[in-house]
């Protein structure tokens, strides 16, 4: 028996901060119609550190018809380059409709900005681009940190004038453009106010009366196609990838050479704008398929679409319709929030496995626990201090009872426990090196004054795994009362009808997705899009929106009342608090993820019950050690001994795993009861023959694992999309930020499977050759996305013109200093023990 070291560590729990302010709702309730005019543009830049504007092109489109096309160029473009543009514009016609401007216009940056102002601000046209923050910052002449709503972002000055001394000054009679970066797929973009606005400027968008409203600021209609493509598909696309995915007729082409102006390069840029304009139509068409009042410019993520459906069904956010819901219970539930369960159980040992995965985990758990009742409830009541009731429930639990769907309906509640070796989620800093908070499922011990709140599913999982009920000091249940009035049916992507008052939305979405293959009347493309939409919708509505907390980027400190694990809240004054999102309701969020962890724990229990084990689990999947006939598999630290004296673990047989999967059929909340919610993943089957094959797994740590085959000689063959599998099965977690060693601009990711192959060979004690790129500097690419990043580069910009500076949204190369590799005399406090980040930025090229 191993000695267990009990280590005292600081732990972190999530808090529910309440600023006491009225709810923020930036979403306009007014109907939005697509502006008649659309300005599509794209820029090209120098291929150096400055990435300054060389030229760009634009199309002005009205009612789908291109009325005007033109080129524009940077302020100090070399004469030779300008001549190429002039020559090109003189000889190439514009691709406009009859009646449009026939000549391809050639404008200076200032002239283009005049046009941009007239169209984007005065005429309120739609401004379309792919990665607009980059293109807009190419047009600017200065920047500053943004304030207010855009705090944490940049304020770009686009329009300027020259003062009597010849200095370029911001034109206060023109708005600025603010951009707040969210992540690589999303940014908020909007105009600021301008001095002496016209009366027309003050007429709110969608105003019926047309009356000016003092103080109104027109925010603009900026549509970044990168963002809306992500919102519709939950995928990060390049322009090329999005054009392919949405069937754009004139997709993106590739340039033979970037940075040097030539007729071919101008063709390339114009084609990009054409592809962008066609893609915009496709994406807007796709969004219109959803019967929700969500403007394309407000489609920031799949959650935006999910929330749009909830509104379309007449569902108001819970905390908005029930603002008196006791905050202390929200705090308890928030403190019980943890993400998905993810860990490694067998480290760096190649094991034969069957890779399993739960069907739409969060939707399934929602349905099993009947959480839709709460989403549509007229009121949610708290049943306080029901310790006895919960204790009895826990004591009466058996593993078999957990295979009864009705058991799951009794888990809508939270328990405060004094853990004493119980197996519960805990968030701590387990490694001094990484020094970050990580969640794990461990044996937890606490004093009475440190009793912690957990969701009932988490406590059930502990009871299942330890066989004992923890000491309960408090408990509460939540119960739905009545139904919201005004619930309305809707059609998912205009096709699948759902009645929120009488159907479980989560269940319908998954069922319809499963039924798609048998649906008639849809083309293959249409079916694929519907399938994708349903998948996105299932994910978007089943969890994240109830957990959404938005970090405030403003540096100003706020007075907050915080609800945590104690009865009494506490006051604090902090900068950058996280404030609840529109549909945030922590009790639901914590129950959903707790339910998912219980499902994985139930699988763990079933595997252990059979004497088996697993290599890793990741939120909704588990690689169970299994071979065709079962038996011992060599594994250091395993509880069994092989004939040769090596320690081992037991592999289940394929039949046992199939039986396990069949056992989970009973928990399916879906109508089709022949299908288990525990899937034997497609990776386990040869795509050519359909026969089950032996898959192997090597895991290093949470989220770092690879699945592969072994050939007859025992050499690893990675599971690779299009080669021997339907998708790549190696983790990029922790490596995704690095560029390809074959070239910084290359999108080639082949080096990662090569690295995994080498790691697996090492684990198999096979000979390995050094990787051809091992000796090369590990280079990443970062973008200047926030003023805080920019500050450290400020001195590099001193005395330089805007075009020559390192500007917002410039791409930079980065490298990391090896431990002890920093130059002597540099500030060691900014160097973390294992991964110093001292010297980072460089020019491209």
């Amino acid at each position: 028996m191993a000695n267990h070291e009990i280590r005292s560590l600081p732990i972190a729990v999530r808090v529910f901060p309440d600023s006491g302010n009225a709810e923020r709702d930036i979403r306009s309730e007014k109907p939005w119609r697509i502006p008649e005019g659309t300005l599509v543009f794209d820029t090209e830049t120098r291929f150096d550190a400055t990435q300054k504007l060389t030229f760009g092109s634009y199309r002005f489109i009205v009612a789908g018809q291109c009325q005007e096309e033109g080129l524009f160029y940077g302020d100090d473009l070399p004469k030779a380059d300008l001549r190429v543009l002039q020559e090109y514009a003189a000889h190439q016609p514009a691709q406009t409709v009859p009646g449009g401007v026939e000549q391809l216009r050639l404008l200076t940056r200032r002239e283009f900005l005049k046009l941009f102002y007239d169209l984007a601000y005065e005429a309120r046209c739609l401004v379309v681009g792919f990665n607009l923050p980059f293109d807009l910052s190419r047009l600017a002449f200065d920047f500053a940190p943004a304030r207010g709503f855009f705090a944490g972002g940049f304020s770009l000055g686009l329009w300027s004038y020259r003062d009597p001394a010849g200095r370029e000054r911001p034109n206060g009679f023109r708005p600025r453009v603010c951009i707040k970066y969210i992540d690589s797929k999303r940014a908020l973009i909007g105009f600021t106010a301008r001095n002496s606005p016209d009366q027309a400027d003050l007429i709110p968008e969608g105003s019926v009366s047309g009356e000016p409203k003092p103080g109104y600021k027109f925010p603009g209609h900026f549509l970044d196609l990168r963002t809306i493509a992500f919102a519709l598909t939950d995928e990060a696309y390049s322009l090329e990838g999005a054009c392919e995915a949405f069937g754009v007729e004139h997709g993106k082409q590739r340039a033979a050479r970037h940075g040097v102006i030539s007729a071919e390069y101008i063709d390339y840029n114009r084609r990009d704008v054409l592809a962008t304009s066609e893609l915009a139509l496709k994406l807007i068409d796709e969004l219109v398929q959803h019967p929700i009042a969500l403007p394309p410019t407000f489609a920031f993520s799949p959650a935006s679409i999910g929330k749009g459906y909830l509104r379309a069904m007449g569902i108001e956010p819970i905390l908005k319709r029930q603002p008196t819901f006791p905050k202390e219970y929200i705090g308890y539930a928030q403190s019980a929030f943890f993400g998905g369960r993810t860990s490694v159980h067998i480290r760096k040992v190649v094991c034969p496995v069957v890779y399993t995965d739960f069907l739409s985990m969060y939707s399934t758990v929602n349905s099993l626990m009947s959480l839709w009742r709460f989403v549509i409830a007229r009121e949610i009541q708290v049943v306080e201090h029901c310790n006895q009731q919960v204790d009895s429930f826990l004591r009466g639990l058996t593993p078999d009872a957990l295979f009864e769907p009705k058991t799951w309906r009794h888990m809508a509640g939270f328990v405060k426990v004094i853990p004493s070796g119980d197996i519960l989620p805990i968030r701590s800093k387990y490694s001094a090196a990484s020094n970050d908070w990580q969640v794990s499922i461990n044996h937890v011990y606490a004093k009475q004054e440190d009793a912690l709140w957990y969701s009932i599913p988490d406590v059930v999982a502990s009871v299942l795994l330890t066989g004992r009920v923890p000491e309960i000091v408090d408990a509460f249940l939540i119960e739905p009362r009545g139904k919201l009035s005004g619930l309305r049916s809707t059609k998912l992507r205009g096709t699948v009808e759902v009645d929120p008052a009488h159907e479980d939305f989560f269940r319908v979405v998954v069922e319809e997705r499963l039924r798609l293959s048998s649906r008639r009347g849809h083309s293959k493309v249409e079916s694929k899009r519907l399938e994708k939409a349903l998948k996105v919708l299932a994910n978007a509505t089943s969890y994240g929106i109830y957990a959404q907390m938005d970090r405030q980027e403003d540096d100003e400190k706020l007075d907050l009342t915080c609800h945590g694990i104690d009865v009494e809240p506490f006051a604090c004054n902090v900068a950058h608090p996280d404030l609840p999102g529109e549909f945030c309701f922590p009790p639901l969020a914590s129950l959903i993820t707790g339910g998912a962890r219980l499902m994985v724990a139930l699988l763990e229990h079933c595997v252990s019950e059979l004497g088996g084990t697993y290599v890793m689990e990741d939120t909704d999947s588990m690689a169970i050690v299994a071979t065709e006939h079962g038996g011992l598999v060599r594994c250091p630290g395993g509880p069994f001994e092989m004939k040769d004296g090596h320690t081992a673990v037991t592999a289940l047989s394929l039949q046992q795993v199939n039986n396990l999967s069949a056992r989970f059929t009973k928990l399916s909340p879906y109508r089709n009861k022949s299908r288990s919610i525990l899937k034997i993943e497609r990776d386990n089957f040869d795509p050519a023959t359909g026969r089950q094959r032996q898959v192997y797994c090597l895991a290093i740590s949470a989220k770092r694992y690879s699945l592969f085959l072994l050939d007859e000689g025992g050499n690893p063959i990675l599971l690779q999309k299009g080669v021997n599998n339907h998708e790549d099965r190696w983790s990029e977690h922790g490596l995704g930020h690095l560029r390809s060693p074959s070239g910084f601009e290359s999108e080639d990711r082949d080096w990662i499977p090569q690295a995994w192959h080498s790691i697996i060979c090492t684990a198999l004690a096979l000979p390995t050759q050094p990787l051809s790129f091992e000796h090369l500097p590990a280079i990443g690419r970062v973008t200047i996305t926030r003023p805080t990043v920019k500050r450290s580069l400020a001195r590099l910009n001193l005395g330089k013109k805007y075009g020559d500076r390192l500007k917002p949204f410039n791409f930079l190369l980065s490298c990391h200093v090896k431990q002890f590799g920093h130059p002597p005399g540099t500030d060691p406090e900014k160097i973390s023990p294992c991964c110093a980040l001292r010297i980072r930025f460089d020019a491209l090229g």
């Binding site: 067998i346 794990s440 001292r838 010297i839």
Partner: protein, 163 residues
């Protein structure tokens, strides 16, 4: 072309050879270095077969760790700006968590500060290397030292057996 230190703006050369940097040159990681770190990522939230935290060299069946709740710290959501942490634009994950100090559970206020007040300021100055004004402000509760300074002062208090 020289590289630029993101914190100071100073220019340096880089090398991938040797083990240490020199005055003008930083030894940066190669892909090989990154992959070795990746391969030996400790996974310390689990324990090895002996019950010790999983380390770089740990191989085989892991088990659950046994954790006693020490201090309880309130934080906001963890998933802020993960892309920037991974790329290294943000130096520490701590920079993206908001901490909400609860005076009732805050170790600095409940344990460290009262213990520090019992010690001579001069001794704390000498041991910490911090200025008198910083210490006086902190002990009077007029300012809350940065996390690393709080850690430093806590370690001094513990070293002196004051708590």
């Amino acid at each position: 072309m020289p590289w630029i230190d993101q914190y100071t703006g100073k220019h340096y050369q880089i090398t991938t050879e040797g083990f240490h940097g020199s005055r003008q040159v930083a030894r940066i990681k190669t892909y090989g270095d990154v992959l070795r770190e990746y391969e030996f990522h400790p996974g310390s939230k689990s324990a090895d077969a002996r019950g010790k935290p999983s380390g770089r060299q740990t191989i085989g069946l892991l088990q659950r760790r046994h954790i006693r709740v020490g201090q309880i710290i309130y934080i906001g959501k963890e998933s802020n700006r993960l892309e920037e942490i991974e790329s290294g634009t943000i130096h520490s994950a701590q920079n993206v968590y908001t901490e909400y100090p609860d005076p009732r559970r805050d170790e600095w206020q409940t344990k460290i500060m009262p213990a520090l007040k019992k010690l001579p300021v001069a001794a704390v100055m000498q041991l910490s290397g911090k200025s008198r004004s910083m210490l006086v402000r902190a002990l009077a509760g007029r300012s809350r030292p940065r996390p690393r300074n709080r850690q430093l002062l806590a370690s001094i208090v513990r070293k002196l057996g004051a708590i």
